[in-house]
Symmetry: C2
Subunit: 244 residues, 2 copies
């Protein structure tokens, strides 16, 4: 079974939701048969690439709140994070454009280090308030996640690298009806929206596992073998004799 | 959309089916949104690892045919392959245990070279009759597909490397009802069994594309945002005010 998770490193509920999903997965009997794939979703795609500023200032400006009110709102999310055992500093976390970070996560996927990189990025952004928008910090984090430093630098310098993959993920999220993140899709059949409690994820995993059924197309099923090779060593050609 | 293809390098219909699927995919409007993943299925898992012999001899022995009859059967499959523009020599293709080849295909997947390696292996096995069961040949083929030679040798020498991944694929094939290969599964929802004509694959892709629908679990959908961060920069907490 495959679970796809659309998220953005800038999204607090994605950070919390990842931990809750993993807790829900722990309680799922068939967890060894679950493959997790992370997909890109920019919360703020129009944000200028060179505009990096503390998130509390962005909140205050965008929603007309005082810096104190914005900090209080951050505290509220922080309490949810901490109840999941996650570090969450409330102070001067940066906000910026995450497109390059999504491109880097696609490189990490190709190298088998995607989940590691996402975990490292979340921790840096929320628990350590290291700026993931700073090139040198991002390179350090990529190396911590097991990526090659030189390859990371080449990717970050080439703005086309994995750009199509990021946009394809975002297009798919829209097609699947996602309006926000985190957005979890199980076997392209069941969806969970938001950083819900762990039990909801366990329930969704169980429902998706039960609901696994393949609809045959084109005269499929074992009754009508069409040009297949079977475990007995024979290769059937329709209307012909057995052939290995 | 994701298509998973269970196959074995030793299976002629998998070789032909891969070409037919790719032709069917070419005619599919949303082909840019299709991701293909190859999965492991050993046709002959009990075959001794050190027993490598010409496949026509194996056919003759197993089904009580003469070598001449076995060659005629190979010719029949070859004609199907050639009508797809595929090379297919009928002579002394080897038969053996494919477990190590499946492990290598999993390494190739982790390195983003899986489809390349599978294509190279099929061509070597069927069109060139290079023995994929010979270590040095296999290493050469891996390098042709873009894998690192040293890493390939380390993997092949360590019989546990990616062994669990091969077995997990095979377990999943059984759970999904596969009785032979090639076995194609579209978004874990629709299945095509056998190396069917290209049009069947196009039809299956269209059907799967139309049938895409996500069932929400746990109070999902846009009506009831539960702890999500939205494109407007806000992060909803259920029962609370808007928080970015």
């Amino acid at each position: 079974m495959r679970v796809e998770i659309w998220s953005d490193i800038a999204c607090p509920w994605c950070y919390i939701g990842k931990a809750r999903f993993e807790k829900g997965l722990e309680s799922f009997e068939h967890r060894a048969d679950v493959e997790v794939v992370h997909r890109s979703f920019e919360l703020d795609p129009g944000h200028a690439k060179d505009d990096v500023a503390p998130v509390v200032d962005m909140i205050a400006a965008k929603f007309g709140r005082s810096r104190q009110e914005a900090l209080a709102m951050e505290e509220q999310v922080a309490s949810h994070a901490r109840s999941e055992g996650l570090g969450y500093r409330v102070g001067d976390r940066d906000h910026g454009n995450t497109f390059d970070i999504h491109r880097l996560l696609h490189l990490a996927k190709a190298r088998g280090r995607q989940d590691e990189l996402l975990s490292v990025l979340y921790r840096a952004n929320f628990a350590e308030e290291r700026s993931v928008y700073d090139l040198e910090t991002l390179v350090d984090l990529a190396v911590e996640a097991g990526l090659d430093e030189a390859e990371t630098r080449v990717l970050l310098a080439d703005e086309d690298a994995f750009a199509d993959e990021v946009r394809a993920d975002e297009r798919e999220a829209a097609e699947l009806g996602a309006t926000g993140v985190p957005f979890f899709v199980l076997d392209r059949r069941y969806g969970v929206s938001g950083g819900q409690p762990a039990e909801v994820f366990t329930q969704a995993l169980e429902q998706a596992w039960q609901g696994r059924a393949i609809t045959p197309v084109g005269g499929v099923t074992g009754d009508d073998p069409a040009a297949t090779c079977d475990a007995d060593g024979s290769c059937e050609i329709p209307g012909s004799h057995t052939h290995p």
